[in-house]
């Protein structure tokens, strides 16, 4: 993990230009309500209420919450996949809210995503080789001659044999598929990666391997990362800072060490307390942290 960065507490930074790589300012996201006769969308229930967050270059920021907290929505908003009803998203100083797809395309190379379920994030009808080559060709990072070489390189980097290139997703194990997901995210050498619950469905041992790989790649490529998870333990091990979300709002935010040592918000305390540790703790079951 990268050494600590000194940052001013958020409250003293009003509306200054920041060096943040990715930033969400006061965003509100609502999902569609009823549709008009010809299918026009009308605004419905809000999913994110006035959320501020940022990720600096090379920093790993955790986004933690339970179901319904809006963490997945926040991640997708950061990537410009969802348009906020209010507020703005910035990438490298440039506003990307409401940007049309052709203008976004160049930026997309620099912001990538790793998904929770690699089975559903790999097209079942395409070979792994094509899944990895297509992005390279789209962004003109290599021609068809050198594409094979680049792809072999990235496959080797994530610790897989080159035989997987000829395979289809359903022929690989869960851990292998997740490595492919990581390979696809880094093959374009992005500046920012969103990791959306990438170890949630994995065994403890596979989780450890995948996170170790992710850590290496992050250091090598100086990636900025937003790590979405419901597991605070994993977040502590992986992230510098963390945002705790509850029902669409940020209830606590700060450096991981500080939050775990002295959580300010009651919900954060409940979350931390609820994690069962593999140690004997007689009072754990009956202990209630009131919210």
């Amino acid at each position: 993990m990268l050494p600590a960065e000194t940052r001013l507490p958020r409250s003293t930074v009003a509306w200054q230009m920041t060096e943040a790589l990715v930033e969400a300012r006061d965003i509100v996201v609502a999902y569609s309500g009823r549709r008009g006769f010809l299918g026009q969308r009308r605004s419905g229930k809000p999913v994110l209420h006035h959320v501020d967050m940022s990720v600096d270059k090379g920093e790993t920021v955790g986004i933690v919450g339970e179901s319904g907290s809006g963490k997945t929505t926040l991640g997708r908003a950061l990537l410009g996949l969802i348009s906020p009803a209010e507020g703005s998203i910035f990438f490298d100083g440039k506003e990307i809210t409401g940007l049309k797809e052709p203008s976004m395309r160049k930026l997309r190379r620099r912001m990538q995503m790793i998904f929770q379920d690699p089975m559903s994030s790999l097209n079942p009808r395409r070979r792994i080789r094509n899944i990895l080559i297509d992005p390279l060709l789209l962004h003109g990072l290599c021609d068809s001659a050198s594409a094979e070489h680049s792809v072999r390189e990235v496959i080797a980097r994530v610790g897989l044999p080159s035989t997987v290139l000829d395979c289809f997703a359903h022929q690989l194990s869960g851990g292998q598929r997740q490595r492919i997901g990581i390979a696809r995210a880094v093959v374009l050498k992005p500046d920012f990666v969103l990791a959306d619950e990438i170890v949630s469905g994995l065994d403890v041992s596979t989780q450890a391997q995948v996170l170790a790989l992710l850590g290496e790649l992050k250091r090598e490529m100086n990636l900025a990362m937003a790590f979405i998870s419901h597991d605070l333990s994993v977040v502590r091990a992986v992230c510098n800072r963390v945002y705790v979300l509850r029902e669409g709002r940020v209830v606590e935010e700060g450096r991981c060490d500080e939050i775990f040592k002295a959580p300010r918000d009651a919900y954060t305390r409940t979350l931390i307390d609820a994690i069962p540790l593999p140690v004997i703790d007689k009072g754990w079951l009956s202990r209630q942290v009131y919210d």
Binding site: L38, R105, M111, N123, V164, T206
Partner: protein, 299 residues
């Protein structure tokens, strides 16, 4: 078990996907049965002049209303007997496959192309596009199909082209609805989101990510539609709205046979049986294709 078994060191072996699928197809009994029969019909249609014992239009009033072989009064040269004008039923049956299959293949394909295109657009682009196309489908389906087809044929004049046009114009909605639903489901898949994140254009995503995953469903629908097209053609020729009365069609044969059903039941029964067998074959083929193509993917 898969996790720990593959930890045993055997890297995943890549398979030749196309060979896999083909093998799966050829092992599915419904594909063999249904597909085999259709193939047989195609050959019959192509080789009609060579394999028909007689000219289907040739009338021989001396040999009128002869029963099929095995019944009293049959003649060897007319295996399924003759109609009251002395025309050989078997030959007319064989030539009838030409019209039936032409309509089946062409009309079903046109309906599929039109319906799939609109269904994909509606399912993927949503909002206004979906709104407009969905309302169009609903309004279109409110028209009584039989009346609409009669209207189209009346406007365009009788003939194979009008029959094909009528079927395509009416049945595209069946494809559109199913393809739209399937596209909407596919569009939520993570690999579609992944393609967006990488920066592919929406059309590229539609053609490269979504369409191939709808293909198995489409193939099944297409064969079912072919069966339907055969029946519709038979209905239209039954009411005299299909090809000219000279060219033998199964529906026309059924219409004529109806008039002499007590004296010469085989004239009515033979084309009916052919129709039944053909539609059954298409349905079986479609069902078998669907089974063979989907599990092969999931294995």
């Amino acid at each position: 078990m898969a996790e720990q078994a593959s930890a045993l060191g055997s890297a995943a072996t890549p398979s030749r996907r196309r060979v896999d699928t083909l093998a799966a197809l050829l092992h599915e009994p419904k594909v063999i049965g249904g597909g085999g029969f259709i193939l047989f019909l195609v050959l019959a249609a192509l080789l009609a002049p060579l394999i028909s014992p007689h000219d289907p239009l040739e009338q021989d009033l001396m040999s009128g209303a002869l029963p099929p072989v095995g019944f009293a009064g049959a003649q060897a040269g007319f295996p399924i007997g003759t109609d009251d004008l002395g025309r050989d039923v078997l030959s007319r049956l064989i030539y009838g496959t030409r019209v039936a299959l032409t309509v089946a293949f062409v009309a079903a394909t046109l309906a599929a192309v039109l319906g799939t295109a609109l269904g994909l657009l509606a399912g993927y682009f949503g909002k206004l596009t979906d709104g407009v196309i969905s309302r169009l489908i609903e309004i279109w389906m409110a028209f009584p199909p039989v009346l609409l087809s009669i209207l189209i044929v009346a406007i365009m004049g009788a003939g194979v082209a009008s029959v094909i046009t009528a079927i395509a114009i009416i049945d595209w909605t069946r494809f559109a609805r199913v393809v739209r639903a399937e596209t909407m489901a596919q569009a939520k898949a993570d690999y579609v989101t992944a393609a967006r994140v990488i920066g592919f254009s929406r059309f590229t995503i539609l053609l490269r990510e979504i369409l191939p995953n709808i293909a198995p469903l489409l193939v099944a629908l297409l064969t079912l539609e072919m069966g339907i097209a055969v029946i519709v053609e038979a209905i239209l020729s039954f009411v005299g709205l299909s090809v000219s009365s000279d060219t033998p069609t199964w529906g026309g044969m059924i219409a004529q046979g109806r008039q002499t059903i007590y004296q010469a039941w085989w004239v009515f029964a033979a084309p009916l049986a052919a129709l039944f067998a053909t539609v059954l074959a298409f349905n079986q083929l479609g069902d078998g294709l669907r089974r063979a193509l989907d599990p092969a993917m999931r294995r």
